[in-house]
């Protein structure tokens, strides 16, 4: 349990650093660390497959692409767009609303039951596959359709219009 609290503390710390870091590249690197702590949490829950997929997909692919795009952005101070007062006021209002919600939710706080796994082997590949393809077949297929449509959309965006060329 103490490992859990330590890792949870680290994830919160790194996610605070993600939004407070001045340099966008640093903030991405903190985000990578945050995801890494999530991976450790999954391993603590014995969800090996989820852990490794989180590792590969988020840390290994998506954040690499984030970093990739950020590297191409000019990060000089003088190219930073000047934010108008309206934007600043909107930001303060939005942040204030979020704060109110967080404080309100703190009021309703209660100690939750410790998470107990009914089936400790659930996170292993074989069991997870069985669950996904039996109980949750429909949501699984629907989400794969969603991914497919996103892929088709990306291809459509990338192909040049033959008329314009």
């Amino acid at each position: 349990m103490s490992i859990f609290y330590f890792i949870a503390f680290l994830s919160i710390l790194f996610s605070v650093l993600v939004i407070s870091a001045k340099n966008p590249v640093h903030s991405i690197l903190y985000l990578i660390l945050t995801f890494f702590t999530f991976t450790i949490q999954y391993i603590l829950l014995n969800a090996q497959f989820l852990a490794i997929v989180n590792f590969i997909v988020y840390m290994g692919a998506i954040l690499v692409l984030f970093l990739y795009t950020l590297m191409l952005i000019n990060l000089n101070k003088d190219s930073e767009p000047v934010k108008s007062n309206m934007v600043k006021i909107a930001g303060v209002l939005g942040g204030g609303c979020l704060l109110v919600v967080v404080v309100a939710s703190l009021k309703a706080i209660g100690v939750s039951q410790p998470v107990l796994l009914k089936d400790p082997g659930l996170g292993l590949v074989k069991n997870l596959g069985k669950v996904l393809f039996n109980e949750f077949l429909l949501p699984f297929e629907v989400s794969s359709l969603l991914l497919l449509s996103a892929m088709v959309g990306a291809v459509l965006l990338a192909t040049k219009d033959p008329k314009t060329t």
Partner: protein, 341 residues
């Protein structure tokens, strides 16, 4: 788990770590020597007999050289880059089964650091993490060439990871397990996976070349266009770490290929020799290392044969050839499994 078991694991980790470092060291020597032989030369022959001490001399040189951190670089990340590169290179060897079990007294020693349920995916994750060392180092150098090298590395690794993953999926359909230990054990005798997955192996080895940034896909450090690529600004042992991590990567990916497709520690007539279990295990480890060295030799052989690809050719090959081929391979494998088994 008793103290003795923990100590044994610790010793095993240490031995594997040392072996991968020594092999990486001598890969630099082998690379230079083999390059010389392929080009009708002699190669390094001054340090010790046949130049056998050359890697030590190179290492001493790397350690003693002046260390330069460019003024405009992001200092901390500049150091993190090579450290990450070598770390991700080293941790890949944790799930590879180096052999069967050794029995010493009452202790049964598994020659594998850890047998996790998702071994293949772990290797895959470590490989995909490897690009961070290159990217962070390239970005932190604050140099155009380094940045270009880092960007090339990132896009190349991501593109080839997809084809690599798809080729592994076809393999997993055959083996039915993600644990490397089980995959190695299944290939007992002559049931090597290369027999069932020739096309998958071809795709995998091409992707392995791309993932380890070896010629013909060494565009991230392409000297003719990018000076030194991502390590242009690096000097001293930090550069050494980058070069070293490439060789460790090569060693680990050779071990993975040997385990996944070439039977791992299995060798023919394993159990008809009439040897005791320990001897079979030791011979198996030797067999695995022979396979690994053969792959490392192949890596170098290809390096001194094929010229570098152009960047658009690289992307064409990855996206338009390898990925469709890998998908076709999955379909063919599926058909075979459904109708012939």
């Amino acid at each position: 788990m008793g103290t003795a078991d923990i100590l044994i694991k610790f010793a095993l980790i240490l031995i594997i770590f040392l072996i991968s470092l020594v092999i990486a060291m001598y890969s630099t020597y082998a690379e230079r020597k083999l390059a010389a032989f392929f080009q009708d030369r002699v190669g390094p022959n001054r340090a010790g007999p046949f130049g056998i001490l050359q890697p030590l001399a190179d290492g001493a040189k790397m350690f003693l050289k002046e260390e330069i951190i460019p003024t405009n670089s992001s200092g901390f990340l500049f150091i993190v880059g090579p450290s990450l590169a070598i770390m991700t290179a080293c941790i890949g060897s944790a799930v590879i089964p180096w052999g069967q079990q050794l029995t010493i007294g009452s202790h049964v020693i598994d020659l594998q650091v850890t047998d996790i349920n998702v071994g293949v995916l772990y290797i895959f994750g470590v490989v995909s993490l490897g690009v961070y060392g290159v990217m962070i180092g390239g970005w932190a150098s604050n140099n155009k060439y380094s940045l270009l090298g880092a960007i090339r590395a990132a896009s190349q690794n991501i593109s080839y990871e997809i084809a690599m993953g798809l080729s592994i999926i076809a393999l997993l359909m055959v083996t039915g397990s993600l644990s490397l230990k089980e995959i190695a054990a299944q290939q007992h005798g002559w049931h090597w996976n290369i027999v069932y997955q020739p096309l998958g192996f071809l795709i995998f080895i091409i992707c392995a070349f791309a993932e380890t940034n070896r010629t013909p896909f060494d565009l991230p450090e392409c000297e003719t266009e990018l000076v030194g690529g991502y390590h242009t600004e690096y000097s001293s042992m930090k550069l050494g770490f980058y070069l070293f991590s490439e060789y460790i990567n090569m060693f680990v990916s050779s071990a993975v290929m040997a385990t996944l497709y070439f039977g791992g520690y299995n060798f023919p007539f394993m159990h008809s020799l009439g040897l005791s279990a320990n001897w079979v295990t030791i011979l198996g480890v030797i067999a695995l290392f022979i396979k690994i060295f053969a792959f490392i030799f192949f890596f170098m052989w290809v390096r001194w044969t094929i010229p570098r690809f152009r960047y658009d050719q690289l992307m064409d090959l990855g996206w338009k050839t390898l990925i469709p081929l890998a998908i076709a391979n999955i379909v063919i494998t599926g058909l075979f499994i459904t109708f012939l088994k």
